[in-house]
């Protein structure tokens, strides 16, 4: 395929669970890696590149070596990608770039996490711990509540506008038996009636943390042709990192995805309106709202009207997060961002079953880390 920077040829996903007991993250990484490599139709020995996340519970250092040893791999390129929820998407273009640089030929990108009843708190010692936590702001909920309040104040967006995003995610999750909220729909009224966590953010506008794992295998466009599954091509990518603490954000209503998506569209010669699938990172409803606006799908402040004008289901004119998004599927920690990659691959291969979209040529995948701080965007195309 012309313009391909590399191809995703294998995907793996573990069904999310609320809690695990006695299972290590390494074990889950092994399970999900096996699924992805089998799906690609490759021998394990063909994997010569390895990209992993930073949070492998029991292993604070030497993470790639630990995982390579555990899987019996001897990669010629190994690295950690530490971009929060943008790590999954960030791995895909790094894999393609490493192949292009001649460092390796087939890269396993893997993220997984267990979730024990009593997880130890990590001993953070950074500016957020020193300058936000003592004032009563611990955790992401409050940071995203601040972004949401700023959007409402600047543009007059309403609680209902945001609730539509959560309700649509739940609706889409009803077609994904693996989703944590399969069989548990929630409409706009239910979202608005859920407890206030940090105003204006309601409980059902926040992802549910789960255990899980996701993996993809990336190789070159040429190599992909000889493999058994239809390949999905990386056509463009963009990335930007602007800050960590919400107080340091250059804007509260527009994030680094704006520039990351602009680069991905420019590299692929596409634009937001041309996407057949929007696979947008959705840790909170405000994240989807800001991404719709930053993508240029509507003017700043206009996401509410845009949502009312479009059908976000797999049968709709703007399918958005057909797997249910993380709001419907659950957020397996950093692997949550990778669910948006894996679902896009399924749709572009035509393997999404009951929730398959009609015309699946182009997909926009976004990843987001910290408080609208770390951003990666991918444009993927069907073979």
């Amino acid at each position: 395929m012309s313009g391909s920077k590399g191809a995703i040829v294998g995907i793996g996903e573990l069904k999310p669970q609320r809690l695990t007991s006695g299972v290590t993250t390494l074990e889950m990484i092994a399970e999900v890696s096996r699924l992805a490599v089998l799906d690609a139709g490759l021998e394990p020995a063909a994997i010569d590149g390895l990209l992993v996340g930073p949070q492998v519970g029991e292993t604070p250092q030497h993470v790639p070596a630990t995982i390579a040893e555990y899987l019996g791999l001897a990669p010629t390129m190994a690295n950690v990608v530490d971009l929060g929820g943008a790590s999954g998407a960030g791995m895909v273009w790094r894999a393609a770039a490493a192949i292009e640089a001649g460092m390796c030929e087939a890269v396993l990108c893997v993220l997984a996490n267990n979730r024990e009843e009593t997880a130890p708190r990590s001993p953070n010692r950074n500016p957020i711990r020193e300058f936000d936590v003592p004032f009563g702001a611990s955790g992401a909920n409050i940071s995203y509540a601040l972004l949401m309040q700023a959007h409402m104040a600047q543009y007059g967006s309403t609680a209902r506008d945001f609730a539509i995003i959560a309700a649509a995610a739940r609706a889409n999750a009803q077609l994904n038996p693996d989703a944590i909220f399969f069989g548990k729909p929630a409409d706009v009224e239910a979202v608005l009636a859920s407890p206030m966590i940090a105003s204006p953010l309601h409980l059902l506008e926040i992802v549910m943390p789960v255990a899980g794992g996701e993996a993809v295998v990336v190789t070159s466009a040429e190599r992909a042709r000889s493999l058994r599954k239809p390949s999905v091509h990386l056509l463009g990518a963009g990335e930007k990192v602007t800050h960590r603490a919400v107080s340091q954000a250059p804007s509260l209503t527009s994030g680094p995805l704006k520039s990351a998506m602009a680069r991905a569209f420019a590299q692929s010669g596409t634009q937001a309106g041309a996407m057949d699938l929007l696979s947008l990172y959705d840790c909170y409803t405000i994240m989807v709202a800001a991404t719709i606006e930053d993508a240029g799908l509507c003017a700043p402040g206009g996401f509410g009207a845009w949502l009312n004008d479009h059908d976000l289901s797999h049968k709709g004119d703007k399918p958005l997060n057909t797997h249910g998004g993380q709001l419907g599927f659950g957020q397996p920690d950093l692997a949550g961002g990778m669910t948006h990659v894996v679902e896009a691959v399924r749709q572009l291969r035509g393997e999404a079953g009951e929730r398959q979209i009609d015309k699946a040529g182009l997909a926009l995948v976004t990843g987001n880390g910290a408080t609208m701080s770390e951003a990666t965007a991918l444009v993927l195309g069907a073979a």
Partner: protein, 295 residues
């Protein structure tokens, strides 16, 4: 709030030698922030180098204590259990008059909090230490004028009397038609605006718009946003520090620095930045706002 915040078992700061002056000042009820002696910008949170210019010449100064609420949240389910007895409580992002934004605890006022509210430093004992919290400025515009005993010079002004620290921004993209429109008005046919080959060989390296096109966004800002309809410039002092090309995004910003109570006149800080955030125009202006509404 019924509970004594000082009895909460909340996590304290993780103080280092570098950040100690901030926390020492906080304990004395002051808000100390760093200022860069090279680029002049204020810096928060404390760092060993200025994040704007990487200078090491950072000096501690007490902040004025004034700020503006950029956003806030009423926290019902705190991230740390030590805060639970105080819930619901308010946290906010406070844009200090000096520029940087700080996340802080906000004391409830008599009216519901709103984004844009002006705030004042309100040192508060929380969890066994004094923290630089903030509280809303309670005086309304009318009360402020009455308490000084002078007549309110802003009566009849469409958007009312602006507050020190208030700011507004506008963004637009420059076009070739801007250059042509400006030529129609002024007769300025400088080849730097029309002869692409010549302009590209010049120090600018590109076709540039007239300075009036760049500064024009500030006309729109004062007349539409802050202080609002009826505003005209009395005096400007602008430096054009970087040229703006065609098809570039520019963002103008005005911030109120001083407001006369007796007349609808204020001093504002003005800037225009390009899409990369680089300063293109910087300076100050004095503006007069004609009262367009009958009192």
């Amino acid at each position: 709030m019924a509970i004594d915040l000082n009895t909460l078992k909340t996590p304290g700061p993780t103080i280092t030698a570098l950040t100690k002056p901030f926390w020492d000042a906080a304990a004395e009820g002051r808000l100390a922030i760093q200022h860069c002696e090279d680029c002049g910008k204020a810096v928060f949170y404390p760092r060993p180098i200025c994040p704007h210019c990487w200078s090491k010449r950072l000096a501690w100064k007490d902040a004025s204590g004034g700020g503006r609420l950029k956003s806030f949240s009423e926290v019902h389910k705190p991230g740390h259990p030590g805060w639970q007895p105080a819930a619901p409580y308010l946290v906010g992002l406070v844009e200090l008059a000096e520029g940087p934004t700080i996340l802080s605890f906000i004391l409830a006022g008599t009216r519901p909090l709103q984004v844009g509210d002006m705030l004042l430093l309100a040192p508060t004992a929380i969890g066994g230490r004094v923290l630089p919290a903030f509280k809303p400025v309670e005086q309304s515009r009318g009360e402020a004028a009455m308490s000084t005993g002078t007549k309110d010079g802003w009566v009849g002004v469409v958007k009312g009397r602006p507050q020190v620290g208030a700011f507004a921004e506008r963004t637009r993209r420059t076009r070739m038609s801007d250059i042509e429109a400006f030529t129609d008005i002024t007769g300025d046919r400088n080849p730097l605006h029309y002869d692409r080959a010549l302009a590209e060989k010049s120090v600018f390296g590109k076709l540039i718009v007239q300075g009036g096109v760049t500064s024009g966004i500030l006309n729109a800002l004062v007349a539409e946003d802050l202080p609002g309809p009826g505003t005209v410039f009395l005096e400007v002092a602008w430096k054009f520090v970087k040229a703006v090309g065609v098809d570039e995004e520019i963002t103008g910003r005005v911030e109120v620095k001083d407001v006369r109570p007796d007349k609808p006149i204020c001093k504002i800080e003005t800037s225009v930045r390009n899409g990369q955030g680089e300063l293109c125009l910087t300076g100050t202006a004095t503006v007069f706002t004609v009262p367009l509404q009958s009192a």
